[in-house]
Structure formats: C-alpha cells, structure tokens
C-alpha cells in the first residue's frame, strides 16, 4: 500500500508538470492551428532566462518573473518571424512543422552555446522534505502541484469569463467567422502565443529547481504535451490537463506491473489505446466520419 501511495503521489506531481505544458501547447494548437514544436525550447528558455536573471543578482521570485516574461516574448517573436510569413504564403502544415523544428534546433543550440550543456540548477527555493503516511515529497513538489492547478483554473476562467478569452475561443472555433464579426485574429494569435509561452515557463523553472535543466529539456516535454493533447482531445484545455494527468499517473503507477525501464513507452501506449478506441480524444469534439 505504501508503494502504491508513493507512486500515486509521484504520478500526480508528474501529471501537474505535464499539464502546464500540455494546456499551453493545446491552447496554441487549438487556436492557431500551428503545431508549435518550438514550444519546447520556449519552455526551456523560460528556465534559462530565470537562471540568467538570478545569476545577475535578482531574487528568485523576480528572476522567475523575468524568465516568464522572456518566454512570452520569445513565443511572440517566433510567431511573428517564423509562422506568420509562412501562413501568408499559404505554406502547408508540413512546411510549418519543419520550420518549427528548425527553430527549435537553432534556439536549443543557441542556449547550449551561451550557457554550455551541463545541467544548471536554480538555487534558492526553500525545499523541505516531508513524509506523510510513508509517502515522501518536498515543499517544492507541493508548489508544483499548486502552481499547475492555479494556472489551469486561471486559464479556464480567463477563457470563459472575459471578453478577450471569448474572442480566443471564437477564433479557435472558426477563424473566418471571427474575422467576420470583427475580431482581429492576428492579435489574438499573438496573445495566445504569449499566454501559452508564459504558462509553460513555470514548469521548466520548477524542474530546473528540482533536478536541473539542460538545453534539450524541452524535447521530451513537448512530446508528452502533444500526446496529452491528443489523448485529451484537440481543442479542449480541460482535456489536455486530463490527458497530462492520465499520462503522469500511468507512467508512475504502471511500473508496479511493468519493469521501470519501459516507462518511456507507457505514454505512447496510452496514446495508441486512446487513438484506437476514441480517436477524437477523451474530451474532444467528435470528428465526423467525412466532412462533406
């Protein structure tokens, strides 16, 4: 029972971190239709930005703010410099994907050149180990779950109760209709990239505090995020969070039965099962068999 409880807690912690990246990735994909691979490096940039600011003497919380702001700016920059010109010439989604990938490679290596490739750890967070009923975790882990939950709820509230949020949802449903009713889709896109980037950064920052970060930390994160979005259903933010949680739990609880070296494959196993049984994801809109 002890083991189960520990794995359960581990799963929730992992799922929370995944949820931040998944919801943000899903928001961008759902609203702009862009498979924003480079989101992985924006995520990492948030952590490195924080690291840089902290090394310049800023207190940790201010550095984190700087890192998040930096990530948001980077996200916007990528949209303006890479995706927008491509959309203007009606490039195919495939071309945009490769461009996104190229951007990821460029920025990841830029970080490696600037900061070198060894793991960087963010110091300064008051971590204390806690043991409750045989289950061990730290105050940092509690923070992870809290931040994730808060961000998720804030995003939902924003999307459903504010005018801008509704505009975003309108664009996500149909960009053409949104234009017709007078919404500036260009600005909405920028906003979504900013919000998405800002939402993913805290996850990277927290990981850099917990176990160190490397320039390529974004690659795995973005893959899990993409899986979570598919599992949860493209176009649904709660779906992405649900998908993330499921993957976190499956990966951790799964090793009770499956040898731990297969852990990486578990996420994709979940994906395949969902895709076969429910291709539109758990909370996604039902795909019509043929869109006539």
């Amino acid at each position: 029972m002890d083991l189960f409880a520990q794995l359960l807690v581990n799963g929730i912690i992992a799922g929370s971190l995944y949820a931040l990246v998944a919801c943000s990735f899903g928001l961008i994909l759902g609203t702009t239709g862009t498979f924003h691979f480079a989101h992985g490096v924006v995520y990492a940039a948030g952590a490195y930005g924080t690291y840089f600011a902290a090394s310049r003497g800023l207190p940790l919380w201010a550095a984190a703010g700087a890192g998040i702001a930096g990530a948001a700016l980077l996200g916007i920059l990528i949209e303006l410099v890479v995706y927008r010109p491509l959309r203007k010439i009606s490039a195919s989604p495939l071309v945009i994907l490769i461009a996104s990938l190229g951007t990821l490679i460029v920025l990841e290596n830029a970080i490696a050149i600037a900061f070198s490739t060894d793991a960087k750890v963010l110091e300064g967070f008051p971590r204390k180990g806690v043991i409750v009923g045989g289950v061990g975790f730290t105050t940092l882990h509690v923070t992870m779950v809290a931040v994730s939950l808060a961000a998720f709820l804030a995003l939902l509230a924003f999307l459903h109760w504010t005018r801008t949020g509704r505009a975003i949802r309108a664009v996500a449903t149909s960009p053409e209709m949104a234009e017709i009713v007078g919404i500036d889709t260009g600005r909405v896109f920028l906003l979504v990239f900013a919000i998405g980037s800002a939402m993913a950064a805290p996850a990277a920052i927290l990981i850099m505090m917990d176990r160190g970060g490397t320039p390529d930390m974004g690659m795995e994160a973005i893959l899990i995020a993409a899986i979570a979005v598919i599992v949860g259903g493209i176009g649904s933010v709660p779906g992405a969070a649900l998908g993330a949680l499921i993957i976190g739990l499956a990966q951790n609880l799964g090793v009770m039965k499956i040898p731990s070296e297969w852990q990486a494959a578990i996420a994709f196993g979940v994906l395949l099962v969902v895709v076969i049984l429910r291709p539109h994801g758990l909370l996604g809109k039902k795909l019509k068999k043929a869109e006539i």
């Binding site: 083991l3 581990n10 180990g129 951790n252 852990q263």
Partner: protein
Amino acid sequence: MRRTFLSVVALLSVIALVALPAGAADPKSYKIGTILAMTGAGAFYGKVMSQGAQLAMDELNAKGGIDGVKFELVVEDHKSGQPKEAVSAINKLVNIDKVPFILTSYSSPTLAILPIATEHKVLLLNGGGVSPKLVQPGSVLFHNRVLASYQALGVVDRAKERGFKKMAMLHWNDDAGNGVRDFIVPIWKKMGGTVVADEAHPVGATDFTTQVAKIKQAQPDFLAMWVWGKDIGIAVKQARDLGFTAPIMGIEYTPDAAKIAGPALEGEEYVTDYFNPEGGDKWTRDFAAAYKKKYGEDPEIYAANYYEGVYILAELIRAAKKKGGDHWNGERLKAALQEIRKFPSVYGGTVDFQEDGTSLKRVALFEVKGEKPTFRKFIEIKK
C-alpha cells in the same frame, strides 16, 4: 527549371566555400583525433575531455612540443553516443586529417569505429567508456580508465566492512550498468549478502521517483548505484526527497552530479579512480591548478584521463622516435605502448596497461563530506 538550377548552384557554392579544408594535413605537426560527446545529453563530458586534452597539448607545446614538432587537436562529435556519427568522424579523421592516434569516448561509438581503426591501424585510447564489451584483447583499443566491474568490487567489500547484508541496486539500463550488475551480484551473494531490489533506468533519465519508490519499499541496508554522470545527482536527490534514508554507495562522482544533488549527496561513499587534487601527488595538484586557471572550474577524472592520454602519447612518440624510421603511425605507437606498459599517471603513481588493453591505476574510497569529496583510503582490487 533554370531558377531551380541556379538555386542549387548557389547552395552548392556556399557549401563548397565552407567546405574548404582548414589546411591540408601537416606532417610537421602531431595531429591527434578525438571523438567525443560535444553535443547532446553528454556534452558536459565532451567539454571536459577536450579541455583536458587541450591543456596537456598546450603544456607540451609551450615546451616546444617534441623536438620542435608541436601537437594539434582535432575534435569531432559523436553526438552523445551515435555510432553513425562516430563512423563519419573517424572516416574524416583517418582519410583527411590522417591521424594515427585517436582519443575515443563512450562505449557504442568506440565499438562502431573499432573495425575502421583496426583496418587503418589507428591506435585508440579510451578514457571514458565503461562497457565490459570494450575489453578487446589484442586489438588497437586501450583504456586508461579503470574498469567499472573492479570498482564495484571495491564497493561490495566496503559494504561488507560496514556490516551491510541487504543490497538494493539502481543501475543504467545498458551494457555498462547491466554488465556491472551481472558481474557483482554472484560475488555479493557468495559473500553472504542478499539483493532486495534491482532497478534499472534509461541513461540520461531525469525522473527516478518510481525506481526510488520501489527501492524504498524493499528496505535495504544500502543502495548501490551502478550509475554514471549527472544521473547520479538527480537520483540521489530524489531518493532523499522521497524519504529514503539508507546509505548510498557508488562508483562515480562528477561535479555536475554534485551540483544537482547539493546536500543530498552528503555521506555518500564511492570507489573510483584515485584522482585527488587535495592530497596526492605534485603532478595532480599542478594539473588541477593549471586546469582551474585556464577553464575556471575544477577538473574531475574525465578531464584528467584525457589530459593523461596526451602525455601517454608523448611518451609513445619519444620511444618510437628513438627506434628510428617513420615513427608517426599507429603500428609503431601501439608497439611502443605494449613495450613500455607503465606510464606516470596524473593521479599519482602509475597507469599500468594489461595484456587485454585495460589498465590498473590507483583506486580509492571517497566520502562526500561538506559537499566535497574526501579521500578515505586506498582500495586493493583483488581480481
């Protein structure tokens, strides 16, 4: 069609411009090849390894090289262990740079380049890879790094000394990690010990919480880690976070692992090559000081091994030269190595090459105290 043709020509011209070799192979210099992890997850190691080699080269060149002929380093990247990249690298090194001696690293790339090195009679020296498969007696491959299995022997001896009976293991899920496990478990059992947990993880993993959870539940007397690199730091940190309190013992210590683990590493004991800049020999201290001065960070065993490798080569060159004729080729260098066998080691004492290409160096037990490695005692490896 013409526009396409023009753009292709333009593209190829750019490539050609960039592709001009940086200078034809110069027989007037001792050019050494290195194939290291310069990018990817292991890029830290490529960095420190190349830095170690470069420092040795600078020191030798400052003294005029060997009889006026200076050393030159060519660094190639196997992208943290990709065999294909290593093969491309060695092809270039052998055919274009025409090097007779290569400092190699990592197990998979080394195995991949071995046939080509053998064919072209290039001497390979490994200071980093740990897989048992790397032991290839009679080949062109030599190691100036102590075999991991021997270090593990030191660990279980020490465990016995401390009165431990139940061992849990965490190890790399690959030839090196599994190889050590397969080697050490029967020996531990013969010593009267038991194995209560055996957890593997992919190389370079960042999340060990599941393995730790299972190890914690097994309630061992101690945890043995057949793990290398920064993975150690993360694993130990997460183990302590999750409330695992039993002692931990391992076979490696690197600064980047220590940085990640911070205070969690306190009290960990490990058996590894005796590289101890604090105590130890004059050469060790000088090397550490020079390295710190040049690169701003403390060296560890990897930088030391590759620094040492260049000095070993210098010895080989001198010896082969004394015999006359064309001394700057792999065969002559290998012959010199097999003849001389014992070289001064930057660890202090000597590095002693064996028949099978492995070498013996001083091995010691260290303890992490106050977040610094503290020498405890020398370990005698009973093979």
